[in-house]
């Protein structure tokens, strides 16, 4: 089953490699991984999307907690949470397609953030599934590049992960 795990860790050189190394050494899946510093510059927040049986997910949680630089871990998928991912798509946009792409972007509540005479760059945020459906809804042959961040997640309401 798919799980989205959020963690706080010391913002130190090499901390990311400890997490990435743990996943590869123990054969766990990583679907996506995002990381950036938090409002407290000594700490980074990481969101990992992974999958596995309940036993594997339990081990992933325990093994992450065991890393010295990991401050706290939360399996967001155990409760209500929100997930968002950002995607940038560069597309060929000429002739009638310019209008069509603008319309599709609008339907998916995206934005066109760069325009040349031949190319659009479209920005889209949402769940991974929403981004997937956008890609399915447009003419794929027009895609020049896609860049996705992977999911970031946060617990709903007063479900808070902090030190």
């Amino acid at each position: 089953m798919r799980h989205i795990i959020s963690l706080l860790m010391e913002n130190e050189a090499g901390a990311l490699s400890r997490v990435a190394g743990l996943f590869s050494a123990r054969g766990y899946n990583i679907e996506s991984l995002t990381v950036a510093p938090t409002e407290d510059p000594t700490m980074s927040r990481m969101t990992i999307v992974t999958s596995g049986s309940d036993e594997i997910i339990e081990q992933i949680n325990k093994q992450l907690n065991k890393l010295i630089e990991v401050v706290s871990v939360m399996d967001l998928s155990e409760g209500d949470h929100i997930e968002r991912e950002l995607m940038l798509v560069k597309m060929q946009a000429v002739g009638a397609m310019r209008e069509e792409l603008a319309r599709m972007t609008d339907i998916f509540r995206g934005r066109i953030i760069d325009v040349t005479d031949k190319v659009y760059i479209i920005e889209l945020t949402g769940s991974g599934a929403k981004l997937d459906s956008f890609l399915q809804a447009i003419d794929r042959s027009l895609i020049l590049e896609t860049v996705r961040t992977g999911a970031s997640g946060i617990g709903r309401g007063d479900r808070v992960l902090k030190l």
């Binding site: 010391e10 050189a13 490699s17 050494a25 036993e55 907690n65 010295i68 706290s72």
Partner: protein, 568 residues
């Protein structure tokens, strides 16, 4: 007063009360060696290979409750140390390894003797540090010792670039240390402990299974009290030997791949299992599905939550320091009015007695040829069961575990997790330094011994009177055994040809060598060797070439699918 980084590092070791540093100098640690030279509190043991430095520090740590310390240079110094570090990591041994690194400005330039020490050791350390600022050295080393020793122990590496070791800073050693992201459990949850006590008291076929965690936590007294209070059978893992006295009648022997029939069958057939500081690894319970076929309740005490329910689902998990938890469990049991059901227990012991009656460790002795098991029995006699015994890896290791009845913890020093050949001799050096005057023997094979044979030179330099019990069968015995059982007797590369004359080799290093070829000479040779209190004696026992280790649970099989000696 300002000190150099190197001086600070050595002062930190002094503050930690470090007695010995095992190491090997090189370019990146020259300032640190200079600082060592200018003091006499911390003594340096010059090994002949960095792997041996780490194993020696490891043997020192295992035989005491202290942190072992090694010092190596950058590049090949670190890569040579990696096997030692991984060995300690797999067995949770507290070590601090200080490594030199190329100067900060050269890092990443593929400089001479540069490796990414933090990267290369990351998967086999509890934690590691690269110190980029001389002002951080003291706090980092303090943290390293704290992390190595607390919680589930393990090796910690501190990598210090050469320029940092020569820069100056004010020295003050932090009095205390705390890491905000690290809070190892001490006491177990009381509700869980009460539940465990209740389960134990209601058991009809109970079993107590303890591992290296009991040794590391110095909890053998609590374990022994518990086992005796309940009157239940107890087995130890390879790492746990000595945690409960092997000569006690409640001891059913080691369990696992080469465990006794009674230990393995009691493990398989019990209805309540108390696992203490052990981790159900593949060499202990074999095939998990097979193990799970029998229904039993499992209580698991471990300081590391990730060891619980990793391979086997546990009913009552208790996270905490084994000594603390056992202490609390004992208190609960003492205050309970309920007692174990004696009739069921008697029937269980009768069943175990029946399994014991098969005498699975019996072997056919010989007047002509030396049986390796016989050597271990004689070693036990010669040392009155009270020596520190290190071993390498292979058949000799299993025979020692089976036939040397360890009654005390920290007497049996071996590489259980990683299975590192070449561990025994350097580990014995560390043990001997920690226990001067005590009998220390290294049981080894001709394959393993040659993996760190150069340390005979270190032993000479530091006058370490080890007794090396070489079970020389001219085969890589365990490999040969598997090839015999599972590879149609095709002995691919397991025969050792062109062996050195070990007697002369010992003499070449300035030690005493003996060759023993007759069973009747085994006892007298051991007696003579141990009487030579100041000499290292290498005893080359020419043993039966094709002897196998029994019982054996083949890899991937279940605990009851055991091969006994006479069945073959």
């Amino acid at each position: 007063m300002e000190l150099t980084g190197a001086e600070i590092a050595i002062r930190c070791l002094q503050e930690e009360g470090v007695e010995y540093v095992f190491g090997y100098p090189g370019g990146a640690v020259l300032f640190i060696y200079d600082a060592l030279f200018n003091q006499s509190k911390v003594k340096h043991i010059l090994v002949r290979h960095e792997q041996a430095a780490v194993h020696a520090a490891d043997g020192y740590a295992r035989s005491t409750d202290r942190v072992g310390v090694a010092l190596v240079t950058s590049g090949p110094g670190v890569t040579n140390a990696v096997t030692g570090i991984a060995t300690a990591y797999m067995d949770s041994i507290p070590l601090v390894i200080i490594s030199g690194q190329v100067p900060t400005r050269a890092i990443g330039e593929d400089a001479f003797q540069e490796v990414d020490a933090v990267g290369i050791t990351r998967p086999c350390v509890k934690h590691n540090f690269l110190v980029k600022d001389v002002r951080d050295i003291a706090a980092t080393i303090k943290k390293a010792f704290y992390l190595a020793k607390s919680g589930r122990p393990g090796p910690v590496l501190v990598d210090i670039p050469k320029d940092v070791s020569n820069q100056k800073a004010e020295f003050s050693y932090p009095a205390s240390v705390s890491v905000r992201s690290y809070h190892p459990a001490q006491n177990g949850e009381m509700g869980q402990i009460k539940q465990a006590a209740q389960l134990l008291l209601e058991a009809r076929r109970p079993m107590i299974y303890s591992g290296g965690g009991v040794i590391l936590s110095d909890a053998s007294r609590q374990l022994t009290d518990l086992v005796r209070l309940l009157g239940y059978p107890c087995t130890n893992t390879l790492m746990g030997l000595g945690g409960f006295p092997a000569t006690d009648k409640q001891f059913v022997g080691m369990l696992g791949m080469h465990g006794t029939l009674e230990a393995n069958l009691a493990m398989q057939n019990c209805d309540v299992l108390l696992a203490v500081g052990a981790r159900f690894d593949d060499r202990v319970i074999g095939n998990v599905e097979h193990f799970n076929q029998e229904k039993r309740k499992i209580i698991h005490i471990d300081i590391d939550p990730s060891s619980i329910s990793k391979r086997v689902k546990v009913d009552v998990p208790i996270v905490g320091d084994v000594a603390h938890v056992l202490g609390d469990l004992l208190a609960v049991l003492h205050s309970s009015k309920q007692k174990p059901e004696q009739q069921a227990l008697a029937a269980w012991w009768a069943q175990i007695g029946e399994w014991r009656g098969k005498r699975c460790l019996n072997y056919k002795n010989s007047d002509e040829i030396i049986k390796p098991q016989f050597v271990i029995e004689k070693l036990y006699e010669a040392t009155h069961g009270d020596a520190f015994i290190t071993s390498d890896v292979g058949q000799h290791q299993m025979w020692t575990a089976q036939y040397y009845k360890f009654d005390k913890p920290r007497r049996w020093i071996n590489s259980g997790g990683l299975g590192t050949m070449g561990f025994g001799l350097p580990a014995a050096m560390g043990v001997q330094l920690a226990h001067p005057g005590a009998p220390v023997a290294c049981v080894t094979g001709e394959g393993s011994l040659q993996m760190n044979i150069q340390e005979l030179s270190t032993c000479k330099q530091f006058r370490l009177p080890l007794k090396i019990v070489l079970l020389n069968n001219r085969y890589l015995g365990m490999v040969r055994q598997w090839q015999e059982f599972f590879h149609g007797n095709r002995y691919s590369e397991s025969y050792m040809d062109a062996l050195p004359d070990f007697m002369k080799l010992a003499e070449a290093y300035g030690h005493v060598g003996m060759r023993i070829e007759k069973p009747s000479d085994v006892g007298p040779a051991l007696k003579e060797a141990f009487a030579r209190k100041d000499d290292l004696v290498l005893m080359d026992f020419r043993t039966d070439q094709t002897e196998n280790v029994f019982p054996m649970v083949p890899g991937g099989k279940g605990l009851s699918e055991v091969i006994l000696g006479e069945e073959l």
